[in-house]
């Protein structure tokens, strides 16, 4: 990791326990993200990767430890609108058109109408939904809905993009196409991305670094830097180095992700 620029996200000794059932979701997590990094969090269910994402976004308060985003406490960063978020489901507002869904965070930031319209226009182009501004979410396919959701998260140009299994509910082909689109958007905007996923190949394909987590208690089992050159393309998935890295992540998951449930074991 580059030492020059101050990290966008800095996590120091973060522990999160849930009082119900005395679950330790996260234990002593340390992690720092440099500007422009694309970091995937991967691990089996219950490893706390989604919890970690929410701690970064100040949606869950850690029991111990500190999180800073853009050099500010996470709470301050949230109220300053320093990050955009994409969930597994698009979470679009049915009663709003596509354009108004994308414009929602801009409304919250108090942008005027003309400025909003111009930005929404740009975002629609970015996610290739040019002709769909006046459609309602239910008129779109799942993949298109998720592109709207990404456009909404990026509309106010946050330095940080948090993505919680954004393509998990999509079919394989749509997922791979959106992977490519996401990379192209990321390279255009230069934002920092934290990407939670279940899929090893998705994590390796997208990321500049893969953070492998293990469950019960949730902790970082290891980190795999991904040295595949950008821009990545369909052929990247066929490169020998890609397979080596996939194997490396898989081995890390297998050896360090003890206490896997049988179906999680099978999925690896």
């Amino acid at each position: 990791m580059s030492d020059a620029a101050p990290p966008v996200v800095r996590i120091d000794g973060v522990t999160k326990t849930f009082p119900q059932g005395n679950v330790t979701a996260l234990q002593e997590i340390d992690l720092a993200l440099a500007p422009g990094e694309f970091v995937s969090l991967i691990g089996p269910s219950g490893c706390g990767k989604s919890t970690l994402l929410r701690v970064i976004g100040d949606l869950i308060e850690p029991t111990a430890g500190t999180v800073t985003v853009n050099g500010k406490p996470a709470r301050q960063a949230r109220s300053d609108g320093d990050y955009g978020i994409v969930f597994q489901d698009a979470v679009l507002f049915d009663w709003r058109t596509v354009a108004k869904n994308i414009g929602l965070p801009l409304e919250m930031l108090g942008w005027d109408r003309a400025k909003r319209r111009a930005r929404v226009e740009e975002m629609l182009e970015l996610v290739e939904l040019g002709g769909f501004a006046d459609h309602h979410p239910w008129q779109l396919s799942g993949g298109m809905q998720q592109r709207v959701s990404i456009a909404r998260a990026l509309a106010f140009e946050p330095a940080l993009l948090l993505m919680d299994e954004p393509f998990g509910a999509l079919d394989e082909m749509t997922r791979e196409r959106l992977n490519l689109e996401l990379l192209s958007i990321w390279q255009q905007l230069g934002s920092t991305v934290v990407f939670v996923t279940h899929s090893i190949s998705e994590a390796v394909f997208l990321s500049s670094r893969v953070v492998v987590m293990s469950p019960r208690p949730g902790r970082i089992a290891g980190t795999v830097p991904i040295d595949l050159p950008y821009p990545r393309a369909v052929e990247t998935r066929e490169a020998p180095r890609f397979f080596e890295l996939v194997t490396e992540v898989r081995e890390l998951l297998r050896t360090r992700g003890e206490h896997l449930l049988p179906e999680e074991e099978a999925a690896l």
Binding site: G57, D80, R96, M108
Partner: protein, 295 residues
């Protein structure tokens, strides 16, 4: 297979527009109901059956007797019954509309307040529910006595009735607004938190739009309830200007001229249906939702 194919190739010009077909369906249902009324009458009078009640011109006047009554004056030197009833219906509609408005606003406001405080919910909900277990007829005289003296001149009389109608209206609106506001998707609430949205913004940009289908289904109930409330409210007020007064009046002459009470009932039902349809039309305009979730 061949049938389906034949149906599919019916020339387009033979198919009537949807609105015409719907209107035809409504008329067909009305015709069938009237036919059943007459059939029942005919079977019971010819056989002489008396169960569950004796059928004669008093208990079940002919459909055409009722229809004819609309055109004739109820008393000599008076305008026709239909014009009297329409005037009275207009008066009742005024009471019901005002009551509906008051009740809807109060109900909605209660829902908004209660969704923000579990404590208030626990404290107030039982009383809100309890309020509806008291018969409206028991409340109405008190409302008239309390409210009427406080009202300015133009609101005298009918204003108290509107309050009684509001008493029936606010309840379904409050309960359904609360449920609707609570039904916001937790992830959407989380999304609003990432924007550091104020309670106010969450309310207007997320909770209220989510609640609208719930609110409107309550408003549909409330629309008809407000008409019932207005009619009942007229009884203890001694108002003669509305349908409630007419019902009391024609009740006294029922054994002589039953068709007039029946005619009044038809108008009262039509008023309720009209209120209902206005709400349905408003819902069509206001609620933007996936077509399959619209009812």
């Amino acid at each position: 297979m061949t049938n389906a194919a034949a149906a599919a190739t019916v020339p387009h010009r033979l198919r009537l527009p949807g609105s015409v077909r719907r209107a035809a369906a409504v008329l067909a249902v009305v015709a069938v109901l009237l036919g059943l009324w007459e059939l029942y009458r005919w079977v019971w009078t010819t056989t002489g059956w008396t169960w569950p009640f004796l059928v004669n011109d008093v208990s079940m006047p002919h459909v055409w007797t009722i229809v004819k009554a609309f055109g004739e004056p109820a008393q000599v030197n008076q305008p026709s019954l239909i014009s009297i009833l329409l005037h009275k219906a207009l008066f009742t509609a005024k009471e019901a509309a005002a009551g509906f408005g008051i009740g809807a606003v109060i109900g909605f406001a209660l829902g908004v307040i209660l969704v923000h405080s579990r404590l208030l919910q626990r404290g107030f909900l039982p009383y809100i529910v309890g309020s509806q277990t008291i018969p409206i007829l028991a409340i109405a005289p008190m409302v008239v006595v309390w409210v009427n003296p406080r009202l300015p001149g133009p609101l005298q009389g009918w204003g108290a009735v509107a309050v009684i109608a509001a008493y029936l209206t606010f309840f379904p609106v409050a309960i359904n607004t609360l449920r609707g506001l609570q039904s916001a998707d937790p992830r959407a609430l989380e999304l609003m938190r990432t924007y550091a949205a104020s309670r106010w913004a969450v309310l207007w940009k997320l909770r209220v739009p989510t609640s609208l289908p719930y609110v409107f289904s309550a408003l549909r109930l409330a629309a008809t309830a407000s008409v019932v409330g207005a009619i009942i409210g007229e009884l203890p007020s001694g108002l003669q200007d509305g349908l409630g007064g007419a019902i009391i009046n024609f009740n006294q002459y029922y054994s002589l001229e039953p068709q007039e009470l029946w005619a009044t009932n038809v108008i009262a039902a039509a008023l309720g249906i009209a209120f209902f349809l206005v709400v349905v039309a408003a819902e069509r305009i206001v609620v933007r939702r996936a077509p399959e979730t619209l009812t």
